[in-house]
């Protein structure tokens, strides 16, 4: 999951005021947050348009305070902050000040502070972060951030603004500790800002005087007066809190909004059609506003109590997805055997229409898996949620930010070549030997795992340190207020407040590494049909002049064909990285540190820097996305892919995404078989599925006539996108995947 976001510069005056507020409270992080946010809001809030009946959009300025987007805490978007792009005509004096401010934030942004806090050894192994590295040459990178929170929006809606204020007051009356009181004071200020934002929108909406704005005015008046009593008010309050906290995963909205929806529908205050219109605007708002790997809305699943009302919202959400063709929000359906079957039936129908949503998560497998992976009880595990690209967390209880990222194929490359890139020779990892020095396959395996460990240690350290710095610099008060157990403990999210402070390690190149190891074992060590020197030479020259050898390496068994030996290697690689990551986390204070086998287009981007690999992949080609087979390697039919994908152990990681591309004709002509196919996959232990239903002809046609295909959605990995919006490399990667059915 990435967090790059479009920056809207607000200019010198804003930056000056924000910086002054920051400097004025350098000794008190709670007052500093309040002061900086008082500058930031409502300056970054986007006023409603005449047709809007829902408000709550924000922009991200060149400097600001944010939980996730823009950067970690106090961020400064330097790439968008140069003199040329400054929107104002600046005097020489102003320019000087502008430059000084920039220098100040270069030192002072929280992300930099977080990186600076790493040990010297960690910095030696990871000289750059994933964001600051101009090119992704190394095997692993730290990502300083706090990403993927899913707040307790039910608490927000149940209490409303004044209820939140009372809850904070009540707690303040119970604690004497100065630090805790300061935190609770910041929480009060955060509630004030929430109210302030509602008032700001009320004022702007009143000036519009359209039918829609009248409805918006009523909703805003409602949430200022009382806790949300209608569906519209609930949605409105949620959106305000999301904009202010800069979080963008919505959690179990069916539980939060189901009761309000049903109350309105049953009382005749709201028609189904009107509810759909509200949802459409809500979806459109999400789609316009935020980054494409987030905006999860979760419906369905265990642990919802009486789910009748929630189910109604779930059906509404799926119908909205069906009516719109948008890459966001990432609607996600959890399901289990005892659930209302209408939900899953609706899901298959919507997926079959090429919407890429909802994504499907099988609670029968995932709940026990989360129980084991996170070390929590069943009731807690039932509150698991995927966020962003598919990382698992416990709803408003755990933080599982992916602050580590590792490329297993690059680690194998490093292990084969004395810690150096095969194509350029630059250093990419530790020198543990070279393929020519490993007499047995086990020696190669040891060097590979040694390289992975070389990165895991500092990555786990980074995961811990980044939270420590976030905790000591940024209270994130509003988010903390909506997270267990911050209020109870009187501590902010990353400073001991969150119940489970954990982390995740994004892994890439898992399948390429495993398929490469399979081929090396067979052709280099078992049959000795290829010498180690010949393979190294072929890889260094990107298979140039070694076509016959490449054909042999390509012909070795590959993951995705339900081939036991090939799949076993993927499981071996999987077991190792999952256990090793967890073990590295166990050396720290983290509650958990777990692998996520997710994907965004980093399989393509990092693939560009990864040399030719022994699975037959060429230098620069994309890595296989997530837990999917390599491009064109799955040649045995859809059940074979699904069976392979169901093999890696789900109880030792925090999420793995399964992408499949299916021809449009399959669900259209055989809707029942389409559903049965996936149901069987889930019955045999499949954890989840992300399905792109499209035809190759459409994709090719869309390249030629993009204007005709604005609704053509594809699943890139952990996110969906309009195919025509993707960069050419990623488009090619999507096309290279096997189309089934």
């Amino acid at each position: 999951m990435a967090t790059a976001i479009h920056i809207h510069p607000l200019g010198l005056d804003y930056v000056r005021r924000f910086t002054d507020a920051y400097r004025a409270h350098s000794d008190d992080i709670y007052k500093r947050e309040a002061a900086c946010e008082a500058v930031q809001f409502p300056a970054v809030l986007v006023p409603p348009r005449p047709g809007d009946f829902l408000a709550g959009k924000r922009i991200f300025a060149e400097v600001g305070y944010s939980l996730q987007y823009g950067g970690l805490g106090y961020y400064a978007a330097f790439r968008d902050w140069d003199l040329e792009r400054c929107p104002e005509q600046l005097s020489a004096e102003d320019r000087k000040e502008w430059e000084q401010l920039r220098q100040f934030w270069e030192r002072e942004n929280t992300s930099q502070k977080a990186y600076d806090a790493l040990s010297d050894e960690a910095k030696r192994r990871m000289p750059e972060t994933f964001m600051t590295a101009p090119v992704l040459t190394r095997g692993g990178y730290p990502i300083p951030r706090v990403a993927g929170l899913q707040l307790d929006l039910s608490k927000l809606v149940e209490l409303g603004i004044s209820g939140l204020r009372e809850a904070v007051s009540e707690r303040s009356g119970q604690v004497a500790d100065e630090e805790k009181r300061a935190f609770l004071g910041a929480c009060q200020a955060a509630v004030d800002r929430l109210e302030g934002a509602a008032r700001y929108y009320l004022d702007t909406a009143r000036s519009l005087e359209t039918m829609e704005s009248l409805s918006l005015v009523r909703a805003l008046e409602g949430i200022l007066d009382h806790r949300p009593e209608t569906f519209h008010e609930g949605l409105q309050l949620i959106q305000l809190a999301m904009a202010l906290t800069a979080t963008n995963n919505y959690g179990r909205l069916d539980m939060t909004l189901g009761p309000l929806l049903c109350r309105d529908l049953d009382a005749g205050r709201l028609t189904w059609e009107m509810a759909l219109r509200l949802m459409e605007q809500f979806y459109t708002l999400l789609e316009e506003e935020y980054f494409h790997t987030d905006a999860r809305i979760i419906v369905g699943g265990k642990g919802r109590g009486d789910a009748t009302e929630a189910d109604r919202f779930a059906l509404l959400a799926m119908e909205t997805t069906e009516r719109l063709s948008l890459p966001l929000p990432q609607l996600t359906l959890r399901f289990h055997r005892a659930q209302n079957p209408d939900l899953l039936a609706k899901a298959y129908a919507v997926i079959g229409k090429g919407k890429t949503f909802p994504m499907l998560y099988n609670d029968e497998v995932n709940v026990p898996a989360v129980e084991q992976a996170f070390g929590v009880d069943e009731a807690t595990a039932q509150q698991y949620l995927p966020f962003g690209c598919g990382e698992t967390m416990i709803h408003h209880q755990s933080v599982g930010s992916p602050n580590a990222i590792i490329n297993l194929m690059r680690c194998l490359e490093s292990a084969m070549n004395h810690g150096r890139c095969l194509s350029t020779g630059i250093a990419i990892g530790p020198d543990l030997g070279g393929l020519e020095t490993y007499e047995h396959f086990d020696a190669l395996w040891e060097a590979y795992t040694g390289t992975v460990d070389y990165y895991l240690e500092p990555l786990a350290e980074g995961q811990t340190r980044f939270y420590q710095i976030a905790g000591s610099e940024c209270p994130f008060s509003l988010a903390s207020l909506l997270y267990d157990d911050c209020l109870k403990r009187g501590k902010s999210l990353c400073a001991g407040g969150a119940r489970y402070l954990g982390g995740s390690n994004e892994t890439y190149g898992n399948v390429d590494a495993a398929d490469s190891l399979t081929a090396i074992q067979a052709l280099v060590y078992d049959s000795q049909g290829c010498s180690r020197a010949d393979l190294l030479e072929a890889l260094r020259s990107n298979w140039g002049g070694h076509d016959a050898l490449r054909a042999r390496f390509k012909a070795e068994p590959k993951f995705g064909n339900d081939d036991d030996p090939a799949d076993a290697m993927v499981m071996r690689v999987h077991d190792h990285i999952c256990h090793a990551t967890r073990d590295a986390g166990a050396q720290t204070s983290l509650h958990h540190f777990l692998v996520v086998v997710i994907n965004n287009n980093y399989n393509t981007i990092w693939g560009l820097e990864t040399s030719a690999s022994p699975n037959g992949r060429r230098d620069g080609d994309p890595l296989a996305p997530g837990n999917a087979p390599g491009a064109g390697c799955d040649q045995s039919g859809l059940t074979a892919v699904l069976n392979s994908q169901a093999k890696p152990d789900p109880t030792i990681h925090a999420g793995a995404v399964q992408n499949v591309r299916i021809s449009a004709s399959f669900p259209r002509q055989h809707p029942e078989l389409f559903a049965t196919l996936f149901q069987t996959y889930f019955d045999r232990g499949g954890t989840q599925a992300m399905v792109t239903v499209t035809s190759r002809e459409d994709l090719l046609d869309a390249l030629e006539y993009p204007e005709r295909y604005s609704n053509l959605l594809v699943r890139v990995g952990g996110f969906s996108a309009r195919f025509i919006d993707l960069d050419p490399d990623t488009q090619r990667e999507i096309l290279s995947r096997t189309e089934h059915g």
Binding site: D547, F666, L677
Partner: protein, 302 residues
């Protein structure tokens, strides 16, 4: 251990009988249907095919494949060179993916291992295994063993057949076949001979044998505009169905151009009488109506 020559095993097939199926494409066929959409399964031996659009000039030069005219004869001559040089050698050198080798030898055990992997999909969907081709009964020992082993393990079996085989051989399929997808391609002897290269009589005789021996049959009729879409043919299909209650369904498989690319790659001239475009939806409706009007029942058009 019995071995068979196949082109492919396709899993999760939804077009080769009921449910989700594993389809084994057996290589070799006595018929030479003008419209054959699996021409790579006709010959009973391993053979190459080449996509000349993908072949790079340097590859062509390295293997002495340049200079051949862009005609079916030219492609055939190229394929002969490839055969002579050895398929393995050529495959190693043609990294562009221009060369496809059709056909691989497999044991019954290996096939069964693959078939078993999707047992739960068959159970949940009412699917099973399908032997197709080619004509699966051109390798009777292999086909009967796979079908028999499947049936013994409780896996539903389908035989997708041209019906062109000895009567005795046909009778031997009864015991191991749960459902026949039985081809019926033309209703008049000379037309059948012309379109498929073999006579009709034997096929009708075997159909009679199966239909009167308790078999379940889905009749599969390729319909090619201008070749066998006359009113009289639909009437003949309906008549067969009336005669044999064993024919539970009729599938009209309308012409599509998807197989033509394979003709080209195999160096086979595309017969001039084949339509240039796939059959459109309106025509499919018309075919269906024609058959229903003639008395056809349980008709599906693909």
């Amino acid at each position: 251990m019995t071995r068979g020559l196949i082109t492919d095993i396709h899993r999760a097939s939804v077009v080769d009988g009921p449910g989700l199926r594993t389809t084994v494409f057996v290589k070799g066929c006595s018929l030479r249907c003008v419209w054959c959409h699996n021409p790579e399964t006709q010959k009973g031996r391993i053979e190459p095919a080449i996509d000349r659009g993908v072949l790079t000039p340097s590859e062509a030069e390295a293997l002495g494949l340049d200079g051949f005219p862009e005609t079916a004869e030219g492609t055939r001559a190229m394929l002969e060179v490839i055969q002579a040089r050895g398929l393995d050698v050529c495959q190693g050198q043609l990294s562009s993916g221009a060369l496809t080798v059709y056909g691989r030898e497999v044991t019954v055990d290996a096939v069964m291992e693959e078939v078993r992997k999707d047992r739960d999909y068959y159970v949940n969907s009412g699917g099973g295994v399908t032997l197709s081709g080619g004509e699966p009964m051109i390798q009777p020992e292999f086909t009967l063993e796979v079908m028999g082993a499947s049936k013994a393990e409780g896996i539903h079996t389908v035989l997708d057949t041209t019906g062109y085989m000895d009567r005795g051989l046909c009778a031997s399929t009864l015991e191991v076949t749960d459902l026949y997808l039985y081809d019926f391609k033309a209703s008049e002897e000379p037309v059948h001979q012309e379109l498929t290269g073999v006579g009709l009589e034997r096929i009708l005789g075997n159909l009679d044998l199966l239909a009167t021996s308790g078999a379940r049959i889905w009749l599969r009729c390729p319909i090619i505009p201008g070749l066998n879409d006359a009113e009289s043919h639909f009437q003949a299909i309906a008549k067969l169905q009336q005669k044999y209650p064993a024919i539970e369904r009729v599938h009209l498989l309308t012409w599509h151009t998807m197989g033509l690319a394979k003709f080209k790659r195999l160096g086979k001239p595309v017969p001039a009488e084949l339509p240039a475009d796939s059959v459109e939806e309106v025509t499919k409706v018309r075919y269906r109506e024609a058959l229903v009007a003639a008395g056809g029942e349980s008709v599906e058009v693909f």
